[in-house]
């Protein structure tokens, strides 16, 4: 969590963030050059996220391509008053990668799940970020018990699901759920303070 805690965190207003906002605005008007610049500046970050979650280069590339096609079509959904540009892009990439992971793991439910996934999940485009987000999260995660903290981190960054976390830790699914739920509740309490 070290990097996420310091104030100069990448996913935060820093150098170039205003520029990414401008690029996204230009992309929403159909500006292809702006789209190319946006890709140049953000694709390594987004590909890194996809690769981390999916572990497979081919799948990560697939999802990365999907993400930029979505960005091209939906850049107008980005609202700079609610979240930073890189945060919006990173969460979008992360959510698509999670969708892909879940589709991979549902097995027999695959067809049904895929049908759901093709739906545009509205939450994917709505991200509300508070000022000082990274520092605040870092501080609040520190206050959680070690296992809650590492489970939450692993879920968000590595895409581990409840059943996977339970198996990894060798605890019943219900136990894992209550650990994480309790962790999230405490996290919210701290973040809203």
């Amino acid at each position: 969590m070290k990097r996420a805690m310091d104030g100069g965190s990448e996913l935060h207003a820093g150098s170039g963030s205003g520029e990414l906002v401008a690029l996204l605005e230009a992309v929403s008007r159909g500006d292809r050059q702006a789209f190319a610049s946006l890709y140049d500046r953000t694709s390594a970050k987004l590909y890194g996220i996809c690769l981390r979650l999916l572990g497979s280069e081919a799948e990560a590339q697939d999802v990365l391509q999907d993400v930029y096609v979505i960005v091209w079509e939906k850049a107008g959904r980005f609202d700079p008053s609610k979240a930073g540009a890189i945060t919006w892009l990173a969460v979008l990439a992360r959510n698509r990668a999670i969708d892909r992971l879940r589709r991979r793991s549902v097995g027999t439910d695959a067809i049904e799940a895929a049908a759901h996934i093709e739906d545009e999940s509205p939450s994917a485009f709505d991200i509300v970020e508070q000022a000082d987000n990274a520092a605040r999260l870092g501080r609040c995660l520190e206050q959680l018990e070690e296992h809650s903290r590492s489970m939450i981190r692993s879920a968000f960054l590595d895409g581990a699901s409840y059943p996977e976390l339970a198996e990894r830790e060798g605890v019943p699914l219900g136990t894992m759920k209550s650990w994480i739920r309790r962790g999230l509740q405490r996290l919210r309490g701290c973040l809203e303070r």
């Binding site: 590339q61 759901h116 508070q130």
Partner: protein, 245 residues
């Protein structure tokens, strides 16, 4: 694994779990349904996504595979308005070409007039001989398309010419500041803009070096006299990237 039946999550918990991405099966389906139908749920998920997002800082950037960009371009379809832009650029280029030829000609004439026909090569060559880097042009547009700024950069003369068309809203309480954002992503100020429709700026070497193909030129709204911090502080009203004219 034997498991006590767990009670379904309360919606507030479910939103957090959905944003975290841990749900599977029926719970995941339930969350997706709620995200479609329940605005409160959606707002909770949005807030949680923002809260957790800084964790993604830990994912190291990795250069995307080289084929990805071509695939993306294929999927977003053929250029719709690119033709116009290219056309515009071409005509700008033509005019620039004519202007450059005229000034080269003028310079030749001036030298001839002053010195007679140059006899030796000891004198500085006329400008047209110099293998100048290609001029670059950026089209800067605002969101409402109410104004357009064409920025032309002549590296040989280190001169940036701005031509404003349409209405660039200005008021005495604010200045428009011009920025170059090179590949490193750090905006550098090129100075504030006057209210004229055309401006010429000669840039120092250190700034001139940053005006490369692909660099972004942007205009932001700043306090009178420009940003107090050296970085853009107000909204960007127009931007575009430099490319060969």
């Amino acid at each position: 694994m034997i498991d006590e039946p767990d009670p379904p999550s309360a919606p507030a918990d479910l939103a957090a779990e959905y944003a975290l991405g841990v749900l599977t099966g029926d719970e995941l389906r339930r969350a997706r349904d709620l995200a479609q139908t329940d605005a409160q749920f959606r707002a909770d998920v949005a807030r949680w996504s923002g809260r957790l997002a800084p964790i993604l800082d830990e994912a190291e950037p990795v250069a995307a595979p080289s084929g990805a960009w071509a695939n993306i371009q294929n999927r977003i379809g053929p250029t719709e308005d690119g033709g116009n832009v290219v056309q515009l650029r071409r005509s700008v280029n033509q005019w620039r070409g004519i202007a450059a030829a005229m000034s080269a000609l003028a310079a030749c004439l001036a030298i001839v007039l002053v010195t007679g026909i140059p006899r030796t090569t000891t004198r500085a060559p006329v400008p047209v001989v110099q293998p100048a880097a290609a001029p670059l042009v950026a089209m800067l547009g605002d969101r409402q398309q109410q104004m357009k700024v064409v920025a032309s950069w002549d590296p040989a003369a280190r001169q940036l010419v701005l031509a404003v068309t349409g209405d660039m809203k200005s008021d005495p309480a604010h200045s428009h500041e011009l920025w170059v954002i090179p590949a490193d992503g750090k905006p550098r100020s090129l100075g504030t803009m006057g209210s004229g429709k055309q401006m010429h700026m000669r840039l120092a070497d250190t700034l001139a070096k940053l005006l490369q193909q692909g660099a972004t030129i942007a205009i932001s709204v700043e306090p009178p006299g420009g940003s107090p911090t050296g970085a853009p502080t107000g909204p960007v009203v127009a931007s575009g990237s430099l490319s060969e004219a």
